[in-house]
Symmetry: C2
Subunit: 123 residues, 2 copies
DNA sequence: TATGTTAGTTACCTTTGGTAAGTCAAAAGT
DNA sequence: ACTTTTGACTTACCAAAGGTAACTAACATA
């Protein structure tokens, strides 16, 4: 039963709130799904693939994902530096849920846009 | 192929970014999954069920969900007012993806917490 | 007359997100 | 010898989103 976890109780950390605190970070889903698609990637590859993320936001996003054990980081002692990011097993296990969301998003994009236009024009 | 949608292109709205702009809102997942569980609910019922959401954040969350066509709002002309919220068909179709995420969250909560502790103590 | 009920709104402050420029250390170009 | 490039970041600074507490409308009840 998931219901029990939904009501807020300050004595117990809620898994849904904990996950959504992370998933809700603006770039987390794009980083995870991009890594999931391409496997291991370097910092700048991710930066270019996603396109509109800043370097700052990419570093903070990757740090949080490492902290949560969803992404692993491998640094090579070279100059210029080389750093590779990969999904951990836990990250991989989250991936299908994220791609599920993405597929829903693609399928329902036009429905959402229609609804937004109607809502605005009804004002 | 979802890949094409992941790279940012300002001329086409990206479904993943569009959805995550909404899903990423701190309370959206909790509101949708609570409505999905209980069916129709009134404003204060949602407020009490979730527990730690403010009235302001509940109203802005519900407004955005209406705008996107995920939640419908029915107001009765009574005093004190009565307003009922329900998932639309589109909202219902999103629900399984959200409960999938929640189940993952419940199953992996301890793994995430362990990882966070290790990360912090390694500093 | 004061109090409660429901679904909000408003004013205000804090936290998060975003932009642009700077850093580091070495190799490669001129 | 001096400047530029490279990759993976920081830092300083500004804008947007989120949070809190108090206030509102309109009537019913004590």
């Amino acid at each position: 039963m998931i219901e029990d976890y939904k009501k807020f109780d300050k004595s117990i950390p809620c898994p849904v709130r904990t996950l959504m605190d992370r998933i809700g970070d603006k770039w987390v889903v794009l980083v995870i799904s991009t890594l999931g698609e391409k496997g291991t990637m370097r910092f700048n590859q991710l930066h270019e693939m996603i396109g509109d993320i800043s370097q700052k936001m990419l570093t903070v996003t990757l740090k949080k994902l490492q902290e949560d054990g969803l992404v692993s980081r491998k640094m090579y002692q070279e100059i210029p530096p080389r750093v590779e990011y990969t999904l951990t097993a836990m990250g991989e296990s989250l991936l299908p849920h994220i791609t599920g969301l993405e597929q829903w998003a693609v399928a329902n994009m036009s429905g959402i846009q229609q609804s937004r236009q109607q809502y605005l024009s009804a004002k």
